[in-house]
Amino acid sequence: MQLDPVLNTDGSWRPASDIAKAVVAKQVTALAVTEAALAKIARHNPVLNAFTDVTVGRARSTAKVIDAAIAAGKPVGPLAGVPFAVKNLFDVAGLPTRAGSKINLDRPAAVRDATLVERLEAAGAVLVGALNMGEYAYDFTGENVHYGPSRNPHDTTRMTGGSSGGSGGAVGGNLVPFALGSDTNGSIRVPSSFCGIFGLKPTYGRLSRARSFPFVASFDHLGPFARSVEDLAIIYDAMQGADAEDAACTARAIEPVTGLLGQDIGGLRIAAAGGYFRQNLFPEAKEAVARVTKALGVTKDVELPEAARARAAAYVISTVEGASLHLDRLRTRPDDFDPAVRDRLLAGAMVPAPLVDRAQKFRRWYRSQVLELFKSVDIIIAPATPCIAPKLGQRTFTLDGVEQPVRAHIGIYTQPISFIGLPVVTVPVPLDPMPIGVQIITAPWREDIALRVAWALEHAAIANAPSAKYL
């Protein structure tokens, strides 16, 4: 059976919607598509190090069930036969949920999949494995001392970004058509930027986090990575819905976006983020933002008030909630952590409580100020990262003559946004030699607007997921 309906001539995946149509039309079987994904993983993962677990038997079984349903004339979902993988903080039945750690390998295997995995498989998608990540998601690099670094498919000497590093590498490197990750302070948007793919961090509370390993309950979001905006939308729609097993998950009705993508964006009020978001940028980040704002006809900046303080408050809440989560493990197994993660968490355990309360009160104030901004604009454009992917192991870079620590600096433009749970689509701008992302930010619960703007940028050839040179 030919794979032409699901693979482009350069070996990259065709969009998920095309793959599902080909499977439903019996032009290719779900099993053949799954085998193609498994072959790609076997060939490229030894270098990319995106996968920590490949669920070969499960994937083949799932694919056979889909093929049998199609043969019997039964309905299958919009992702029929589309392979995908998840960051290894999602529960996958039969696997211990590593969350990037060595410690969690000692936990019993999960007995049930995470809600989002269940929903995607109900839509016909085929889980093929679990993906590498920074330890306990406290990471912007994609490096991992226990399992080795995820490697950037556009230059394997560079970082994928983190903490969803394997998700970025697996989709950027075309091992799978799409993947899931998590974003607490930027962990979907940073790998999307560095690996040249589309990423959606929905509104806080939009998608269920049930049966995923947490980091910072106040900020944790789950979301998809894909190679096109339409794929992001289809995947997102398949995952929406209330879930009583996640206390933060909204009870709002499902708001599908896939059918809305082509709507005209001419009436939208679009501005660029000024001030804080115009500082500390490498030329590539400036160029990417300039291309996007020019294409959208943006003529004005808006200022997110006190963005630097918002980032500081996000930093404080993250380290304290992270420390609280891991307190017992810090007491009993300190030597089994990545030392860099452990030492940040130990410090987080020592922050006086009133300062944390102040940060949560500041968060409420900042939210009200930013929501006020959204009365006069619909979309805010901002850089996703200050730079293209740094080299693996790189500790510092020099910006405007000042040496800055890489790890702490990567998330400076993402943290003030996730701090108040705003939805963001990160679009890849295919600069040469390395891509870089731009954030399309909108008001809570308006993922539809951000996706429409991203779709327009993709169809204007300003944003796209470039083929990986490594492949």
């Binding site: 630097a308 930093y315 404080v316 007491r331 410090a347 987080g348 020592m350 940060a359 104030w365 939210r367």
Partner: protein, 59 residues
């Protein structure tokens, strides 16, 4: 501040029953110093008394 921060780390470590190995103490101290600077940035910002925390959060 050096002595006060070291003493503070000792006191919290004992109170929380959270041992800090000597080898990692300099890194913990450096991280705490950065975190407290961040917290101070937030603390300096005046907020009305009636401001609610965002602990239970809905976007």
């Amino acid at each position: 501040m050096t002595d006060r921060l070291d003493s503070y780390i000792d006191a919290v470590s004992a109170t929380l029953d959270l041992p800090i190995d000597d080898a990692c103490r300099p890194a913990v101290r450096a991280n705490l110093d950065v975190t407290l600077k961040m917290a101070r940035m937030v603390d300096e910002f005046p907020l009305p008394d009636a401001t609610e925390p965002a602990t239970i959060y809905a976007a």
